[in-house]
Structure formats: structure tokens, C-alpha cells
């Protein structure tokens, strides 16, 4: 057996120490990967959102790496953790991500609850974060939209304020409107904003607002209250599976007024759960995948997604016409990563202040969900009313299609 002498051992130790000292230098050097991270609902009942943005982010990373990375450095999703849309878990995950000093940029979780839970710690940390899906305005503007945004927090999601303005335009033709909203921050804020927008558009508008708990199996009490108030149309602010319960309940109670939904409500679980009853439902969602022809960035993303995953649950069965919800559930993750990558490239640095400065200088960036994304130091929410469309659900053969009406 070979024996290591005292002198050899000392040399080995020195060599080890030297290599240990040089390792961080290599990691920080030109060849090291640029790392991003996020926590999202990858599993659990709301994983259509979290798993969706993960897929979108992966496509963005693969695309940039195929094109040679950022100034020759590869890009990596180094921390991708699952929070199941539970705020506590999102906080634990984000703590772990922030403890990794190699992460240079972040994507916010799916949903307002987890995002509101982590946003203060991310603001204190200073690294840039972009919100793909959470809708509550206070995520970006904690002191009101007329006050400065959080310096390092940006958003491309459908903001409740913008969605409320679009919904109010669609509902302004009715004098009496019923609103059913889930009892979460998303539902409560959304209902308040739609009420304010509608009353601003129509001074004689009469609104009946009722709440429900997610996953309730019967909504009779809420629906008959709306019916008794003489509602001419009903708006649901919630998620797809609950909207299916509401639509089925309406049918059992023989309530035949027009049904409107938010972007979160009219998703695949709604179409599957309500079956043929979805016909006639109108909803607000991204216009990107509903316009023909799609704008180039949307078409490119649709092609990339279909090539990687096929016509699956997120894309829908028709190769030529992806679900409009593909924008919010998947493409928003793609846009977030692309915006971060673009900012790092323009900044020529991975220092948080440099990336934030570059994000603030983003002008007319071609996104898949929003055709033209612009941020300024005051304007950290990219979506505008014209980026949304009002759709109507129709049946063509045995398929449900969404036709852009406005």
C-alpha cells in the first residue's frame, strides 16, 4: 500500500487549499452559468399554473442556451421549488432561494397569496423579481398605484385593476349584475375593483356581490341570492373548477343569464367540468393567442411549446389554435425569463442593481403574452387594457373554441 508521508500530505493539503480558493473565482468567472430561481405550485390542485410557468421558463432557458447563452455564459434554472400555492411553503422556499447567492434573478410564485407572502423579503434582498400570474395590485404597488412601485418588483401578469376595467366595459350593458367571487385576496380585491369600475361607467348600476369558499360543492345559496336581486348577468371571479360547479348549479336552478368569467375562471378545469354548458360563457383573457394572425412572439412560443410538449392539456387539442389560457398559464413564465435574460444581457452584469436598472429601461420588448412590454422606474406593470380580449365560448364539432369578440 502506498503511504503518504508528512511532506507529501502537506503538499496535498496546500494543493487542496489552493484549488478550494480558486473555485469561487472560476464560478464567478466568464464561463460560469447565470442562475435563476423560483417557487411555484408545481404539484397540488393548482399546478396548472405552477407547472405551466415552469414549462414556459424551461423553454426560454433552452432557447437562449441554444443561441449561445448570455455573452457566452449558459443560463440555468438552478432553484425550482414546489409550494403547492401554500404561502408558508412559498416563504420557506424563497428563503432557501435567496440564501443561494448565485441566483441573480427570480420569478414570483403563481397566485397572490404566496406572492404577497414572499414579496417583502424579496424587496429587502434587492434581487429582481418578475411576477407572471399573481393579480393583486399591491404586489407591485403596496401604497397604491399613484405611489412608487417596489424598486425590484416587476409584473407582466393580468393585474386585477386592468382586468376589472376590461370586465366593466363588457358588463356595462347590464344594469343589474351579480358578482360571485372566491373568498381569497384575488377574489375579494377583484370584486371590489370591478364594482368600482362598473359604478364609474354606469351610475345606475346595481350590484349583488356574494362570496364562496374554494372547492365548495354547491353554490345554491349564492346563486338564488343573485337571482332574487334580479341580476341580468353574472360574473365569476375565481378558478376553473369552482366556476364549473357554479355553471352546473345555474343549470340545475334554471338560471339562464349570461355568465362572465375572469382569466383564472375560464381555464381547462372549467371546460372539462362544465362540459357543453360552457357554450355562451364570456371571459376576459390575454388577447395574444386569440388574435389571427397571432403576433410573431406569440406564434413563436406556440410553435416552441407544441414542438416540445405536443397538443397537451395546456396547449389544447387543436395544433393551429392553442387555448387562449396558454398565455397566462405557460407563456407568462417564458416571458419572465426572457425579460430577465434580456436585462442581464443589456446590463452586462449580474449585480442586482444593474439588472433592475436594465429592467427599468425595457422598451417595447416583444413578449408572447404582451406584444410590447415596457417598464419605467414608475411603471412596473406591463399589461394594458388593450392587451386583453373578451372571448365567447362556442362549440365547433366536439371542440370548445373561444372566439375573440372585443
Amino acid at each position: 500500500m502506498a503511504r503518504i508521508g508528512r511532506r507529501s500530505f502537506g503538499a496535498l493539503a496546500l494543493a487542496g487549499a489552493a484549488s478550494g480558493l480558486s473555485a469561487p473565482r472560476i464560478a464567478r468567472g466568464q464561463g460560469a452559468t447565470i442562475k435563476f430561481g423560483f417557487t411555484a405550485a408545481l404539484t397540488g390542485p393548482f399546478n396548472e399554473f405552477g407547472e405551466g410557468i415552469r414549462r414556459g421558463a424551461e423553454i426560454a432557458v433552452e432557447e437562449v442556451n441554444k443561441a449561445g447563452g448570455i455573452n457566452g455564459r449558459r443560463v440555468e434554472l438552478a432553484e425550482v421549488l414546489d409550494d403547492q400555492l401554500v404561502p408558508d411553503r412559498a416563504v420557506q422556499n424563497m428563503r432557501r432561494i435567496l440564501d443561494n447567492r448565485e441566483i441573480v434573478g427570480l420569478m414570483a410564485p403563481s397566485g397572490s397569496g404566496p406572492t404577497l407572502a414572499i414579496v417583502d423579503m424579496v424587496q429587502a434582498d434587492g434581487r429582481p423579481i418578475i411576477n407572471p400570474q399573481a393579480q393583486t395590485p399591491s404586489i407591485v404597488y403596496p401604497n397604491g398605484a399613484d405611489k412608487p412601485p417596489r424598486p425590484n418588483v416587476f409584473s407582466i401578469s393580468i393585474d386585477n385593476t386592468v382586468e376589472a376595467a376590461k370586465l366593466a366595459t363588457a358588463l356595462a350593458g347590464y344594469r343589474t349584475v351579480g358578482i360571485l367571487h372566491e373568498s381569497t385576496g384575488y377574489g375579494v380585491t377583484g370584486a371590489q375593483l370591478v364594482r368600482a369600475e362598473l359604478q364609474a361607467k354606469r351610475r345606475d348600476a346595481r350590484l349583488t356581490v356574494e362570496s364562496y369558499n374554494q372547492r365548495a360543492q354547491d353554490m345554491t345559496a349564492q346563486l338564488v341570492r343573485v337571482q332574487r336581486a334580479g341580476a341580468e348577468a353574472l360574473l365569476v371571479i375565481g378558478l376553473g373548477a369552482d366556476t364549473a360547479v357554479i355553471r352546473r348549479n345555474m343549470s340545475r336552478l334554471n338560471i339562464n343569464i349570461p355568465l362572465y368569467g375572469t382569466a383564472g375562471a375560464v381555464t381547462v378545469p372549467y371546460i372539462e367540468g362544465a362540459g357543453d354548458l360552457v357554450v355562451g360563457t364570456r371571459a376576459v383573457n390575454h388577447a395574444a393567442f386569440g388574435r389571427r394572425p397571432m403576433h410573431p412572439a406569440a406564434q413563436k412560443f406556440a410553435d416552441l411549446y407544441r414542438a416540445k410538449h405536443g397538443t397537451d392539456r395546456w396547449y389544447g387539442p387543436d395544433p393551429a389554435n392553442p387555448f387562449v389560457s396558454l398565455a397566462g398559464t405557460v407563456a407568462s413564465g417564458y416571458d419572465c425569463l426572457n425579460l430577465l435574460i434580456d436585462a442581464v444581457r443589456r446590463a452586462g452584469s449580474t449585480a442586482p442593481a444593474d439588472i433592475v436598472k436594465a429592467l427599468n429601461e425595457t422598451r417595447d420588448f416583444a413578449g408572447a403574452t404582451i406584444a410590447s412590454i415596457t417598464f419605467t422606474p414608475q411603471q412596473h406593470v406591463a399589461l394594458k387594457v388593450e392587451d386583453l380580449g373578451t372571448y365567447e365560448m362556442l362549440k365547433e364539432g366536439d371542440r370548445v373554441v373561444l372566439k375573440l369578440r372585443d
Binding site: 390542485p45 399546478n47 362570496s211 345554491t220 338564488v224 341570492r225 373548477a241 360547479v245 367540468g273
Partner: protein, 296 residues
């Protein structure tokens, strides 16, 4: 009759009859072992998910329902053998079975999420669609609600007849009073206990199918809330009393809907737990139960 009131009453008794079915399932195991299977909600979920899965594989709906029920019946045997019996032996009559049955339910949720996914699955219309209805005295009556009510009440009455009018039913009653004496008398106590868990699981399966048909979707977390309401119904009516379970279930369903309709939808579910607390404070044996007497 006022349409508003009528709609609330119909939905209340329909939903309440599902609570009653769950309460009866809880009662069955309470009779034989003085335990409750808190994994009932997951059995409801699994049965409904299996029906969706089997139907999607091309099986006729009736066969899919039978398949789902057979699996949950087998799981009833598993629950008794591996979560209740060891807990009762090991803990000498303490409450270890609460944790073990809850744990069983959580494991079942995980298994369902692994194999069927965690997204809500569309549940097919088993007997009628949401658009099927009859008109009685000018009122629109959903056949889905009526079938839930009719099936639940029929099953509860059949079970009550079984317990009161058959030798096996009398044996269940005897075991509920004194299992040791029943054993000495030569009754197959172990078999009857096992049977009570199988029957309880089957009732959970039926309740799962009926309530999934109302909502139209089912996911791995389905059933947990319903078991809580079933528990409230069982306590309200009197733990161990079949007629009490029916009365308790209907009362919880009706009062919840009427409070939701006339007072506030935010109070719809909270009122059930307020009733539970009031009943435990004022009449712990429930509306139709008898106070338990322990021999010295």
C-alpha cells in the same frame, strides 16, 4: 311556495342527505369498535376518481361504479386491519386511531395525486344531467338533486331495516352494547367488525359518487370538508343513532342553505360548526341519542 325558499330547501335536503350518508358510515364503525374512520373523505374521493378513470377506459358507467365500490370496500378491510385494530391493541383504548385513520386518508390523497394527477377531473353524469328536471306545482325540480335525496334516504332506511329486522343486524347491535359478551355467546365478532368497516366504506363510496355528480369535478382533496359536515350531522343527530344521522344530516344541510340564503353566504358553513358547539354544550348525546351509561 316562494321560488327562493324552495330552491334553498331542495338544495339543503339534497346536500344534507349526503351528509346523512356519511354520518351513517361513521356510525357503523362507532357501533362495533367505538372508533370513527376519519379517512372516509379520502375513500369518497378515491371511489369518485376510480369511476372517472374506469369510465375513461371505456367501461360502462354501471361497471365503473361497481369497480370503484369494490376497491373502496377492500380498503375498508385494510382500514380495520391496519389502522384501527393495531391502534386499539397498542393504545389500550386511547385515541391513536384518530391519527392512524387521518394518516390513512392523507396517504390515499397522495396515491390519488400520484396516479390520477392533482388537477380536478371532470365527473361524468351518472344518472341524470344538470338539465334534467321535473315540474311540480310550478317549481323546477332538478332530477340530480332528487336522485341524491332518494338514493341516500333509501340506503339509510335499508340499513336501519337490516339492523332492526335481521339476525346479523341484531348481532351488530349486541356487539355495540358488549363485544366481550357477544364473543362469549359465540358471535363472529371479528367478522362483524370487518363487515361494519366494509359497509361504512361502501357508503362513503356512494356518497362520493353522489356529491361528485353535484359538483361535476373531483380532485385528491375532495371529500375532506364533506366528512367534517358528516361528523357534525352524526353528533347533532346522536352518535350511533341511524334516524339521528338522517335528521342531523338534513338539519345541517337545510340550516346551512337557509342561513346562506337569508342571512349571509359567508355564514353558510360556519353555522354547521356553531351548531356542533351548541349541541356539545347543551345536549352532548345529540337530538335523538341516549346518554351513554358506563357500568361500574
Amino acid at each position: 311556495m316562494d321560488d327562493f325558499f324552495f330552491s334553498l330547501v331542495l338544495a339543503g335536503i339534497s346536500v344534507g342527505s349526503v351528509y346523512a350518508l356519511i354520518a351513517i358510515g361513521l356510525n357503523l364503525t362507532f357501533w362495533t369498535t367505538r372508533t370513527l374512520n376519519f379517512g372516509q373523505g379520502s375513500l369518497m374521493m378515491l371511489c369518485a376518481m376510480l369511476v372517472v378513470f374506469l369510465a375513461s377506459q371505456g367501461l360502462a358507467m354501471a361497471l365503473a361504479v361497481i369497480g370503484g365500490l369494490l376497491v373502496v370496500a377492500a380498503l375498508g378491510v385494510f382500514v380495520e386491519r391496519f389502522t384501527i385494530r393495531p391502534a386499539l391493541v397498542a393504545s389500550g383504548g386511547s385515541m391513536g386511531w384518530v391519527v392512524s385513520t387521518l394518516g390513512f386518508g392523507i396517504v390515499l390523497q397522495g396515491v390519488a395525486a400520484k396516479y390520477f394527477g392533482s388537477q380536478a377531473m371532470a365527473f361524468p353524469d351518472v344518472l341524470f344531467t344538470t338539465q334534467d328536471y321535473v315540474t311540480v306545482l310550478g317549481q323546477h325540480l332538478s332530477l340530480q338533486y332528487l336522485v341524491v335525496l332518494a338514493l341516500s334516504v333509501s340506503l339509510i332506511l335499508l340499513l336501519e331495516l337490516f339492523v332492526r329486522k335481521t339476525v346479523w343486524g341484531q348481532a351488530v347491535f349486541a356487539i355495540s352494547l358488549d363485544p366481550e359478551l357477544a364473543l362469549v355467546q359465540g358471535m363472529p365478532v371479528r367478522l362483524i367488525i370487518l363487515g361494519s368497516f366494509v359497509a361504512s366504506s361502501l357508503l362513503a363510496g356512494v356518497a362520493g359518487i353522489l356529491s361528485a355528480q353535484i359538483g361535476g369535478t373531483v380532485d385528491p382533496a375532495f371529500g375532506f370538508d364533506l366528512v367534517l359536515f358528516g361528523f357534525v350531522a352524526a353528533v347533532l343527530g346522536g352518535m350511533g343513532c341511524s334516524v339521528g344521522a338522517l335528521v342531523g344530516g338534513l338539519a345541517v344541510g337545510l340550516i346551512s342553505k337557509l342561513v346562506g340564503g337569508y342571512i349571509s353566504t359567508a355564514a353558510e358553513h360556519a353555522i354547521a360548526f356553531a351548531l356542533l358547539m351548541a349541541m356539545l354544550a347543551l345536549r352532548p348525546q345529540g337530538l335523538l341519542g341516549r346518554p351513554e351509561v358506563s357500568k361500574a
